[in-house]
Symmetry: C2
Subunit: 501 residues, 2 copies
Amino acid sequence: MNLYQTYVAKMHKIADVNHAIAVLGWDQEVHLPEKGAHHRAQQIATLAGMVHEMAVSAELEDLLGKLSEDESLTFEQQRNIAETKKHIDRRKKLPVNFVVQLTKAVSATYQAWMKARSANHGEGDFTLFAPQLKQLVDLKREETTCIGYADHPYDALIDEFEPGEKTADLTVLFADVRRQLVDFVKEIHHQPQVEDHWMFEHYDKDRQWHFGLELLKQMGYDFKAGRQDISAHPFTTSFSMHDVRVTTRINEHDLHEMIWGCLHEGGHALYEQGLLPDNYGLPSGSYVSLGIHESQSRLWENNVGRSLPYWKANYAQLQAQFPERLANVPLEAFYKSMNKVNPSLIRTNADELTYHFHILVRFEIEKALIEGSVEVNDLRELWNQKYKEYLDVTVPNDRKGVLQDIHWSHGSFGYFATYSLGSFYAAQFFHQASKDIPYLQTLIEHGNLQPLLQWLRTNIHQYGQLYPAEELCKRITGEKLNFKYFMEYARQKYSFIYNLR
Amino acid sequence: MNLYQTYVAKMHKIADVNHAIAVLGWDQEVHLPEKGAHHRAQQIATLAGMVHEMAVSAELEDLLGKLSEDESLTFEQQRNIAETKKHIDRRKKLPVNFVVQLTKAVSATYQAWMKARSANHGEGDFTLFAPQLKQLVDLKREETTCIGYADHPYDALIDEFEPGEKTADLTVLFADVRRQLVDFVKEIHHQPQVEDHWMFEHYDKDRQWHFGLELLKQMGYDFKAGRQDISAHPFTTSFSMHDVRVTTRINEHDLHEMIWGCLHEGGHALYEQGLLPDNYGLPSGSYVSLGIHESQSRLWENNVGRSLPYWKANYAQLQAQFPERLANVPLEAFYKSMNKVNPSLIRTNADELTYHFHILVRFEIEKALIEGSVEVNDLRELWNQKYKEYLDVTVPNDRKGVLQDIHWSHGSFGYFATYSLGSFYAAQFFHQASKDIPYLQTLIEHGNLQPLLQWLRTNIHQYGQLYPAEELCKRITGEKLNFKYFMEYARQKYSFIYNLR
């Protein structure tokens, strides 16, 4: 074995254990009997500890050092070495004691969050969460010092989820969101609201389930390399490109959850199934960033799955499944109802446009917290004020407000922005795909989604981390992420739906 | 942390990884999409390698050395150290190169077995299996030399599955089986056969499934610490005493498979759920031997589950589920039909009595192979001849003969005997339980199985490996394993069923 092969073998071993953790995590969400939770958490922690030991081992460091200077490596091999080194250097910057302290703080903060949410007769009480959150924010600020940064401390945290993305760029991006999207949504709100009551009538669970499976098949999700199950919170997980699993949730009184949940998770899964088997365990066999991952889920969920052509192909089938609900709802009315814009309190229920105001609130708050310009104790007030300003809604209690998301209790600061990045990348990619694929709309109208999937495979999936997000975007579209594609998409689509101009 | 606590922490870590392997294995049998098999096998192999590294590490050896001489330890602590040491010493006796060679040979032999089974238009062809099997038998004989033995090389292999059991004792035991049980079955076969055609009529899958769940609940299987799923081959697996899972198989045209499969796996699972949480990862928190494990499954399957009192409690419920099949079948006829004795070709379909002839054949063959008194090339002839002699059946082809079991292709020599040991221990334990628990038959007739479960918990489950099998048996019943209890049970039960004397 040459040095590079030795490196690959070590990476395979690390990947095997990471995927074992993923299996244990999947089982935990889908099947775990209630008494099994304690030992399961311990088993995952043990495996995670072993991954850490392997990742920071002196042999691997030595190997990476030598391979970094080996000019005979191919471009792809060099990229793998560089990305692995970057990942491990980041790990090593956090002292073991600090990681232990952080892990304990996360656990305590999560417990406090759970308790605070159900306090006050289920309306939530932020003051029960604040002390733990404050301690965790302090540790995350300490983490930015350990990791280091050139411009802004928040950069050090964003980098974990969206490598290369900067606070400065996101600030410009979200200023655009605030300026352009807030105004556009106000325009929409001067128009008569679309009808959507049929979405909340009764839809049988089994029939929903089978319809969802058909949608996944039509997308090209490979059921020989994956499966769908039910879980409380839908997610996608991968144990290799040959075993990528999705979960869904079915609400018999809200058709949105299953349909667009399936398309969303299906989009994530197609990315994972499209990574190349030869690159198993290597950066070239892993997704680029959370933003790019989310671009795949959003593209299928929104750009495809909430489009008129897509439902020209699929609506008759849905009507046939639920004639008593939808036989008298025309296609165009159904299309408008799935795209109803309605500012609301809860991020995960938000429509495609106002969703980004929820992210805007969180981005501004996180940035301020990490740079130290606001205090945890002021969060509730700040949250409620921003929701009034951007979404024009009044937050009635903490559970529907500042306590609604799990992310902060997990110490995930820098994560939320990737949701918006995903939508914006999706719009830009879909715009390009529409130029590259002749008659894309017509193909979609006929239920032929394979040319689009092939385009994504060719332009995105196959590369893994071969190119960083910004470069990947440039290679595909000729420019880096540009918010105008999302705004163009939004204006065109919603002008029709809301009869603007 | 004192030395013993350090030992416990290391054992926890090993157990966590072993249980992760078990989760991956369970998922493989229950859920794995077909393309996922290759990476899953690799992931399991990686984790197994890590367990091996931890088990044979110098630190653990050093720790065990010191603790072996620590006289301040409690009896239980001393037992844990002694059993761990024994287990690890066995591991260390096999050179790494030998283990690699053995693993490869097992893989090749398994492939050859699969191929040989489907050869000859599905009738099987032993000659395609023989060369690989010969190589594997040679390696297993080499293994006996590495492990070492006092009396018989086969002892070294048996010890892996049934610690402390000896070839000499098993030879005496199976001589009893041959002498007493073969004659008794001949007596039975002079009597008119019992009727059982209703067992093979159509029984709806869903209704069988729900009936099986009720049986598991009634036994005391804790669904908050486990679950049942469907798999091709039923099994029980444990991820901790708080997550012990069973699987079953439903045949719509054979009622036996689901009902007595559930009771069998349920019996295994009750043992695992009955180990003490404080002993997680330690010998005192693990089963004694495969024979004792099988005693639990057989006791519930046969001594309880094929008894008249048990069906006095449950038959009305079964009839209510399947009135069109069983409304006109009286309880006594149903009871006799589930206990029909009928020598046949396939071990896994055998009745409670002739089952042991199948094991007798395999025991005699394995013993001869390992001591070198027969050759692999003679196996087919030997097999067919013994089936004629003990079961009076003619083997029509290799698939229904010498190729029927997976065990040899896995290199599991010394395993089969534990199935018979399980039944014989079960008879002896149940005999004792009937003396210890007032009105046991009446309790069972009323569907109250909890006193019996409590007796098993108190006398067997809670101890884990605190006492070796023979000693455990003596503590419970006052004597070591004695075949007479099984023969008494058999004579009494089957004299009634077949109107003997």
